[in-house]
Symmetry: C2
Subunit: 128 residues, 2 copies
């Protein structure tokens, strides 16, 4: 058995898959810095992310027009920070993402149902 989630990866495949919608959702609460978002991803139940991955994703989202960014005027502590803000398009994409996750939920539930149903009926029947 090898490469199970989180063993040799920075973060699991699943986690990465949730990065975009999670960022959109966090930004739906209001504008925020990349660094802040990085920390808040945790509070959404996703784990620690590699900063580079999060920043890169934000830039890609900006390229697609889902968010816009600007340098923060009042620098608190540290170097200039970029503030990201959701666009109308980003809001729409978040809505699409929610639909997509509904579908994902449906598939996961169907899979688990099929799994439990089958192993209940056939506890184990194959040779090693």
């Amino acid at each position: 058995m090898d490469r199970r989630e989180g063993h040799q990866r920075g973060c699991s495949r699943r986690t990465v898959r949730f990065l975009e919608p999670a960022l959109l959702l966090l930004l739906h609460h209001g504008p925020a810095h990349g660094y802040t978002l990085l920390e808040r991803l945790d509070s959404l139940g996703l784990g620690k992310f590699n900063p580079a991955v999060v920043y890169r994703t934000l830039r890609e989202m900006e390229d697609r027009g889902w968010v816009v960014s600007a340098w923060d005027r009042e620098q608190a502590q540290g170097p200039p920070r970029r503030v990201y803000r959701l666009t109308l398009l980003g809001d729409e994409v978040l809505r699409l993402w929610a639909q997509d996750l509904e579908e994902t939920r449906r598939i996961v539930e169907e899979f688990l149902r099929a799994y439990y149903q089958h192993i209940e009926a056939h506890p184990m029947e194959m040779e090693a």
Copy 2:
């Protein structure tokens, strides 16, 4: 808006993510040919897969010891077919996959809950 699921991809990211557990589950029902599995993936609610992707995945699973294969003695129609069979290790991995999907379900549900709760309270508040 671009690269939403299934637009420019053969199959969605999500679908690919379910390929391994789906194959393990199908094989838990009993040995089967790659081609048969390819067709049955549909019946699990996942869409059409590129054959090369499925065959390749089966080989990788064999490398990891989750399945074993042998050439089918009685060739029905067409070229020799490889029969895949789940191993005890594969059975265990399927169990782990189910646990992983339980966790995925939890995350998806939490995300959707947070999403609906928030957009209900804040229908729309950011500038374009």
